[in-house]
Structures are given as C-alpha cells and as structure tokens.
C-alpha cells in the first residue's frame, strides 16, 4: 500500500529530524538560546560527507565520523568565539549573532561550492530493499535508525552519565552548578560541540539521499524550529517524538498535496502549535 510506504518513509525521515533537532533543543533548554545557524550546521555536515567521499574516497562510516568531528570542533569554536559573549547581553544581540553566523556560513558555502547541487556517489548502503512488501531505501533506513538511536543516546547521556548530569546542572542553575565545582563555560561549550556533532551526523545521513547545496539550511532550520517547539522547550524525548511526527506529517503532505506544499503544511502547523499549545507535547505550560 502506497500510504504505508509514505508513512514508513516519514518515520525514517523523522528519525533524522529528531536527531538534528535534539541538539537544538539541548542548547535552548540549557542556555535559553536558539541557534539560528542550526540549518547551516546540517548543511556543513552534508558537505563534510561529500568532501570526505570525493577527496578521500571514504565510506559512510568514515564520512559520518568526519562530519561529527568537524562539526563538534565548529560548535565549540562558535561557543568560545561568539556565543559566550552574547549570552548575557540583550536579546537582539543573541538572535542577530547566530543569524549573522547563518548568513556567513551559507554564503561562504555558496562562495566555495557555488549554486550547484551536488550528490553523494553511491556507497555500499545505496539501493532499496523490499521489506514486507514495502520498498525501503537503505540510506533512509540507516539514516532513520541512526537518528533515533543517537537521539535516545543523547537522552541517556544527559540523564544517566556523570557528564550529562553536569550539563543538566548548568542548564538548571548556572550559579548553583558553579558552587558545586562544575565549570559552566566548559559544559556549555561541550553542549555546543555535542549539539553540532549530532547535527553533523544528521547532515551526513541526509546527504546520502538528498542533493546538497548551500541553501538547504534554510528549510532544515525551520523544520528544527517546528520540531523543538512541538516537542517542548529543552526536551530531548520531546524532540524525538515531535521529529518523527513531523517526518510523517511532511511525508503525507508531500503525497497528498505535492512536494511544493509539504513545507507549507509544516510551517502552518507551527503557527497552529503556537496558538494552541506553545509548550509542545512534552513541555510544561
């Protein structure tokens, strides 16, 4: 049945959405800061995968690691060079800082790669598999599963490890955490690195089945915003749930309304969420 196919694709896409949104919600919940360059982080992850394949002929495992590592570094650098300074300032500075960063990264990518779309060459993951009568694209399957697993992994990291509890402590009360010997600066930088790394992995996954270009960040960022708003401010489980949900909704919208309007449905849903339930599914009012 075609609809089942569409829904399955949506679930898998949603897994990736959950992954890159989880990083965004972590930062937001922790520092009350929204990274408007988040879409560009995904885009850079995609390009990192592409470059790894074209320069070093690396496979999916390698390019995912490269994407994760390079984005981790970027996240930490961005924190220390920029975010740290605008956190305590006026909100206009906060919003403009990552907005400016987004522009900068987007057009830097344009400058280097121009407006052409590039795609990843085939890997051993390419192709489709027939699972119980449904044709599932293997890259999408891998992407979705990796996405869900890593999102759950993030949640476990935050709630079950010492490092995670330190991050959460800073998120809850920076001053109290300091008094307990935790260094907020370090934890925040770590959170940024982690968030960016996960986003890089998401980008690497997406790169396997979507064309890559400098401008893809724009709509991906908006999807991330919708997901974190639907999921609930600061909630990683929320991002998981909402990501998958949005993936399915987008997939169904593309099927029923055509690919041009799939984003429209998601954006309209966003406005509706703001009107009706801004705290999202798992957030508190």
């Amino acid at each position: 049945m075609i609809v089942i196919q569409v829904i399955v694709e949506g679930l898998l896409l949603g897994g990736v959405y959950a992954l890159f949104s989880s990083g965004l919600t972590l930062i937001w919940g922790m520092m009350n800061f929204v990274n408007f360059a988040h879409g560009e982080f995904v885009m850079l992850g995609m390009f990192a995968a592409f470059l790894t394949m074209t320069w070093v002929a690396g496979g999916p495992v390698l390019f995912t690691i490269v994407a994760a590592a390079s984005l981790f570094v970027l996240g930490v650098v961005v924190y220390f060079a920029l975010i740290r300074y605008v956190l305590d300032g006026p909100i206009i500075g906060q919003i403009l800082s990552t907005f400016g960063l987004a522009l900068f990264l987007r057009y830097a990518a344009f400058f280097v790669f121009s407006a052409n779309f590039v795609t990843l060459p085939d890997t051993y993951l390419s192709g489709t598999e027939n699972v119980l009568g449904i044709y599932v694209s293997i890259p999408k399957l891998v992407g979705g599963v990796v996405g869900v697993l890593l999102t759950i992994g993030l949640h476990l990291l935050l709630t079950r490890t010492a490092v995670g509890s330190r991050i959460l402590a800073v998120a809850e009360n920076r001053d109290a955490a300091m008094l307990m010997g935790i260094r907020p600066d370090r934890m925040q930088a770590l959170a940024w690195g982690l968030s960016a790394a996960l986003t890089g992995v998401a980008g690497a996954m997406i790169a396997m089945y979507y064309p890559i270009s400098y401008g893809v960040g724009e709509s991906l960022a908006l999807i991330a915003f919708v997901v974190v708003s639907l999921g609930g401010f600061g909630s990683v489980p929320g991002a998981l749930l909402a990501g998958i949900l949005i993936g399915v909704i987008e997939s169904l919208s593309a099927y029923y309304f055509g690919p041009a309007f799939k984003d429209v449905v998601v954006y309209a849903l966003f406005v509706a969420i703001l009107w009706v339930r801004p705290q999202g599914l798992l957030g508190t009012a």
Binding site: Y85, I92, V264
Partner: protein
Amino acid sequence: MKRGWLLLAVILLGAPLVVQGPFYQRMITLVLLSAISASAWNLVGGYALQISIGHAVFFGIGAYTPLVFYQHWGYVPLAGIPVGLLISCAVAVVIGTPTFRLQGHYFAMATIAVAELVRIVVTNWKFVGGAVGQMGPAVPRTVWDLTFRSSLPYYYIYLGVLAVLLGLTYWISRGRMGYYLRAIGADERAARSLGVPVRRYKLYAFMLSAAFTSLAGSLYALMVGFIDPTSAFGILISVEMVITAALGGAGTLLGPLLGAVILVPLQNMTNSLFGGGGTGLTYILYGGIILVLARFEPGGLLEIWQRWQTRRANRAEAAEVARAA
C-alpha cells in the same frame, strides 16, 4: 541640534539635484527605500525589541497587492496599497498574538516560518503569477499610475513617506507608547508590574511596523514595476532590513537611515567589484557585519557615536573642573 535637522533636510531635499545621472539617482532613491523599510522594522525590532527576521512577508504583500490590482482588474496600482496594508496587519496579528506571550525566540522563528510559507504559496499560485511574478504598467495610462521613467519623482515620494514615518516614530517615542515599548524592551516583568499591557503594545508596534513595511514594498513595486516571489519574500529582503537598522542603530530614530546610507552604496560597490560571485561575497560581508555587531556593539554605529560623545563631554567636564581648581 535644530541646525542639524535643517542641514539633514537640506541634504535630503537637494541630493537629487546634486547627484548626476540615472544610475546614481536610482541609487539614492533606493537608499531612501531601504531607510523606509529599515525604519519600519525598527519600530518593532529596535523600539519594542521584538526581533523579526521574516519581515519580508510584509514587504512582499505590499509589493504584490498593487501589481495584482493592476494586472487583474486594471486599477491604478495605488488602489492596491491599502489592501496590502490591511492584509499585512492581519498577518501581523496572526503571528504576534500567540508569540508575544512567549519568549522572544518564538516570535523570531514564527516570522521566518510565515515568510517562507507565504513565499512558497505565492510561488505556486497562478493567480498572482506563480514563480514568474507580477508586472505593473509598462506605460503609464495617467499620472496616477505612478509610473515614471526617471527616479526623481519616486525619490520625493519616498522622502515624503520617510518623513512621515520618522515623524510618527518620534511622536510615538515621546508619548506613552514609546515609554511602554522601552520598558518592555528593558524588563518585561517589571513593565507588567507597573500595569503595562505588554502583549497589546507589542502588537501595536508590530502592526504599525507591518503596515509601513507593506507600504515600502508597495513603493518598491511602483518604481520597479515588477515583483516575483524571491525579490518580494526572500530571506535576503528580511536580512537587509535587519542589518540596515542594526548597523545604524536599532532603537534610534536616524539609525536606519544611517545604515541605508552606508549599505546601499556598499552593496552596489561589492556587486560590481566582485562580478559574478558578487552576491555571495556581499552576503558573506553582511553576515560578518551582523556577527561583529552582535558580538561587540548591538547598539550599532549611533551607539558608538553616543559613547564617544559622552566620553568627550566627560573629558571636557573633567578638564573644566581641573581648570577651576
């Protein structure tokens, strides 16, 4: 101070007479248009401190309505302007009402989401021209079509609108609304404790901002005679408004004008200098400017100027005290 205003008025009124040639006349006209858009953004982004990064939606609505009115029903484009204003205000209410009770990030996100939403819808809507866009009168039927070959009439129309907008902004800033907006921007919780109806005033500022941005879009469409989804609703239109206001000084009266005076010629220059890859570099530059502003001086150039002035005054004061001693 009064002399400063007089000087400014003289410069603005006389500029087209001094500047020669259609290219430069067009450029100064675009400076004014940019100043109008940025000053309109400033109302909500600078005074009320609600950062909108999707303001292009209002610009686009304002740009499309006059041309659609002309294209489909033969009206003078002017007739479409009030409709554009109304639609923009309605959109502002839809965006602002739910988000103004939440933290500022929601508002910012909602503005780009709606801008993108509208852009996609318009791109796929045959009635308004789809991806191809809408055109205005190629040849004016009467003077009321406001289709002129030279930039000069547009320059003076824009100047008039800018003067009205700045006058209105000034008048508002001195009255209750201005104080309330500044209070909201400074400390929302404290403002509420003093009885300030925060949501309502944010909405007023936003609607006013939307209306004038819509007007700016209409003025643009009148002059250029053509609009398409990207030049109407694109993110770069939103970016330009924000950076123009922020560079000059968000929350100040003349900051946006200053920003326009600097950025429009600058953009022209980088576009011609870097040829094909030009657009990329311009926006890398814009991104960099916004970054630097956000990091070091969110108050923009006028803030730097203010601080320099205060330091000079303090030094003069100290010198006087030293002399008297």
